[in-house]
Amino acid sequence: MKRIIMLVEDNPDDITLAKRVFRKCNLTDNVVVTRDGVEALEYLLKKDEYDDDRSTSDLPAVIFMDLKMPRMDGIETLKVLRSNRKTAFIPVVMLTSSDEEWDIRQCYRCGANSYIRKPIDFNRFTEVMQLLSTYWLTINELPGEKGI
């Protein structure tokens, strides 16, 4: 069973750079990219409609989500995810440029599992992404994976 990372990011540069990191880590097939919160929710909840049975296993193992996005921003999307039964337990890592105290508090309050500031130094960025992917895809355990 393949674990999936969902990246919610509107900046194409960041997407490209992130994909480059995933590629380096051989994780390209495990990554789904959505451009904003609306798109992300569409993807997650559509799956819900068609394949109710497979929903849990097909849901991403982790969501890396930017804070500032058009249409629906990270906090709003997070709130919707946490209020939905199916998506309530998906680990969400806030991946953003901001290190504002207010943003950090808000994210945790809304149920974020982690808050990471994207380092400007690309080498540091790569390190962080590798660490995150490894942790959430291999180390972390999720509910409903063991089967009956």
């Binding site: 900046n11 540069d13 960041d14 750079l17 480059r20 804070l67 500032k68 953003t96 440029s97 901001s98 290190d99 504002e100 105290e101 994207k118 380092p119 400007i120 130094d121 690309f122 080498n123 960025f125 790569t126």
Partner: protein
């Protein structure tokens, strides 16, 4: 008999008749005189007694001239005896009158007169009273018969009764003029008894000359004197009993009468007074007056207005009394001026009361004056308060300004003359006039309307003044009016605008934190990607360029971080607590050593240095200052960094001293300006924001920061945490 009586031949000359006639004349004249003095019971009774005595005496004398005994008898019976019987009741009546018993003894008097009349009738009808005539050497003498005995008894009884009443009254009376008069009268009565000598010849076997007329004469004299002086005495008693002092003078100012009150009031003996002329007296005793000049003026006034009543108040020194003195002229019944009367009235008590009243009134006036002053003061205070108030205060009545204070006028740029009577509508921005007037009208009509609201006033120069207005319906000089209190909110508005600007700045900082970093990451990221993916296609120069791009973008990232740190400082709240700065310094230096274990730096940290402040912010201060010291001593072989505490003007001053490169003090003012650096980045890395941040934190704590340094001699940063 009447013919005989009228015939000249019946009479002959007899010298003994002369004293009788003289006596008669004298006593009748005395009676008339007394009666003329005053018509009272006493004088009338006296007149009666003189008349009776006169008849008796005249008749007796007349008989002496008669030659015919028959005529003598007849005349005696008809005329002389009339006098004789009348005299006793008359004396009795006089006595009663003198003693003031007339009213109660009227019946007895009438009875005595009836008895007298009875005797007279007996005498006329019988021959048992005047029985005959004897020739004596002084002339014919009538002899008495059996009836003369009861008559004498009657006569003696009345006389005795009179004497008895007099003695009784005399004993009961207190010593005084009246008592003396009674005494005199009593003596006269006793003398009167001796008049009975006239009857002695009748009973004795010898001739006794009837000198009773002498007794009668003396009695009448005494009585007349007693009556006249008695009358005078009673008058003078009244006169003396008057509380007011009375001085009567004649036209020449000689004192003719004076009562005892004068002596009591002036303590000048009555004898002294009565002997002198008034004017001389006043000059003699001038030092007795409180103000002699006033007395002179009084006399002057009298002289100038001799016929008017002149009145004045004068004060006497000894005894200390106040006198009301009143001078008026008196005249007799024909209107001829006979003199003047001066009345002295003791008004000491009245003056005292007047003085008390005056003092009371004065005190009252003083109090009223004081109260008025106080009121005035409080009004002035109130006025000052209103006119110097920093809020605008105004009153309008039916939309017209009737009062404004200085501040109100200053706010709107009008003078008092201009704004007086102006319509309030002219002072309000046209957009708001309608609403404000409606509110004012509703308030005037007692409706419940909003009292305090924002308003835009229109200044004289046409500009707008934002303000908060508060309206109160008041009673102003008896009419309904509205009191306005106006506070200029221009500053409040500015503050609000500043707040908005601050918020916008925060928003800006927020977006900087998001949006400015993303491109940097892109630049850095793709530079790295280029370096990695196109390694073989890039020469060393190309790689170097890419490295530079990466370094610049990372540096930019640091700058952005510093800016954000600065902006956050303005927004964060300070939580004061006691902070152990020594421990903090040790912690930071340990960190510095860990990060750069190769360096050898001596740290000297004073123990137990504490300060009050925000722990996080103070940590930033210490980190920056120690970090700077660490940084600028990196070229020093024996680097030494000190942290400690000292005192300046009684205040705790913290310092961090290093022996690093230092700087020229002429650049010291640039030290705390953001992004201003004294060293190149290649020499010492840094953003140029650290000290700015430190200064802001220290200032937000109410403290100050300054530096002492010289090139190559290290630097010492001092800071305080409170003013």
């Amino acid at each position: 008999m009447i013919e005989k009586l009228l015939s000249n031949s019946s009479y002959s000359f007899n010298i003994y008749a002369l004293p009788m006639f003289l006596t008669t004349t004298l006593i009748v004249l005395l009676g008339v005189y007394v009666l003329l003095q005053e018509k009272s019971f006493i004088t009338k009774a006296f007149f009666f007694s003189t008349l009776s005595a006169g008849i008796w005496q005249f008749g007796t004398g007349f008989i002496y001239l008669m030659k015919d005994p028959a005529l003598v008898i007849w005349f005696y019976k008809v005329f002389v005896f009339l006098g004789i019987v009348a005299i006793a009741p008359s004396i009795y009546m006089l006595t009663i009158s003198v003693l003031g018993l007339f009213e109660s003894k009227k019946k007895y008097i009438a009875l005595s007169y009836l008895i007298a009349l009875f005797f007279y009738l007996l005498d006329l009808m019988t021959n048992s009273l005047a029985t005959g005539v004897k020739e004596r050497f002084w002339g014919p003498y009538v002899t008495y018969g059996i009836l003369s005995a009861p008559f004498l008894l009657f006569f003696s009884f009345l006389m005795g009764r009179s004497i008895y009443l007099c003695i009784k009254a005399y004993q009961e009376m207190k010593p005084g003029i009246s008592r003396d008069q009674i005494k005199l009268y009593l003596i006269s009565l006793i003398i009167a008894l001796s008049a009975a000598v006239d009857f002695l010849s009748c009973y004795l076997p010898m001739d006794v000359y009837p000198f009773g007329y002498l007794a009668i004469l003396s009695v009448i004299f005494l009585q007349a004197y007693a009556i006249i002086t008695y009358q005078k005495a009673s008058l003078s008693e009244i006169f003396n009993s008057i509380e007011d002092g009375i001085v009567v003078t004649d036209n020449e100012g000689r004192i003719t009468n004076i009562n005892t009150s004068v002596e009591r009031l002036t303590s000048i003996g009555a004898a002294t007074l009565s002997e002198n002329r008034l004017r001389d007296l006043i000059y003699t005793y001038r030092n007795k007056f409180e103000n002699p000049k006033q007395v002179e003026e009084f006399l002057q006034k009298i002289q100038e207005n001799p016929n008017r009543i002149v009145e004045d108040d004068i004060g006497l020194r000894d005894p200390a009394i106040q006198l009301d003195i009143k001078y008026s002229r008196i005249s007799d019944r024909f209107g001829i001026k006979t003199g003047s009367v001066i009345v002295l009235r003791d008004i000491t008590q009245r003056k005292k009361v007047e003085q008390e009243l005056r003092e009371y009134k004065e005190e009252l006036e003083t109090r009223v004056e004081q109260r008025t002053q106080e009121l005035k003061k409080s009004e002035e205070k109130y006025k000052a308060l209103v006119s110097h108030a920093q809020v605008g205060i105004a009153i309008h009545k039916k939309g017209r300004m009737i009062f404004t204070n200085e501040q109100f006028r200053a706010m709107l740029g009008y003078t008092e003359e201009e704004i007086m009577d102006m319509e309030i509508a002219q002072l309000i921005h046209p957009d708001e006039v309608k609403l404000v007037l409606k509110r004012a009208w509703d308030r005037y009509n007692g409706k419940d309307v909003i009292d305090t609201y924002d308003i835009q006033f229109l200044k004289k120069d046409g500009s707008v003044l934002p303000a908060i207005i508060s309206n109160v319906a008041i009673d102003y000089q008896g009419e309904r009016a509205t009191l306005l209190t106006v506070v200029d909110t221009t500053e409040t508005k500015m503050r609000r605008e500043l707040e908005i600007a601050n918020q916008e700045l925060e928003m800006f900082a927020y977006s900087v934190s998001h949006d400015l970093r993303a491109p940097l990451r892109t630049i850095d990221g793709f530079s790295q990607a280029l370096l990695e993916d196109y390694q073989d296609k890039l020469d060393e120069e190309g790689k170097d360029y890419l490295m530079r791009i990466r370094a610049a973008s990372q540096r930019m990232g640091l700058l952005i971080n510093s800016i954000l740190q600065l902006s956050r400082l303005g927004r964060s709240e300070i939580r004061f607590e006691e902070v152990d700065l020594s421990a903090m310094a040790r912690d930071i230096t340990a960190e510095l050593r860990t990060n750069d274990p190769d360096r050898k730096v001596e740290f000297v940290i004073e123990e137990d240095v504490k300060g009050i402040g925000d722990k996080t912010l103070l940590r930033a201060v210490m980190e920056n200052l120690l970090g700077n010291a660490w940084k600028f001593t990196q070229k020093q072989a024996d680097a030494k960094i000190e942290f400690g505490r000292t005192e300046k003007e009684g205040k705790t001053v913290y310092f961090i001293r290093d022996n690093g490169v230092g700087f020229d003090m002429k650049y010291a003012n640039k030290l705390f300006i953001p992004f201003q650096r004294l060293h190149s980045d290649s020499e010492f890395a840094g953003t140029g924001v650290g000290l700015t941040l430190v200064q802001r934190i220290v200032r937000r704590h109410g403290g100050d920061i300054w530096v002492e340094s010289a090139v190559e001699e290290g630097a010492t940063f001092y800071f305080t945490l409170e003013r």
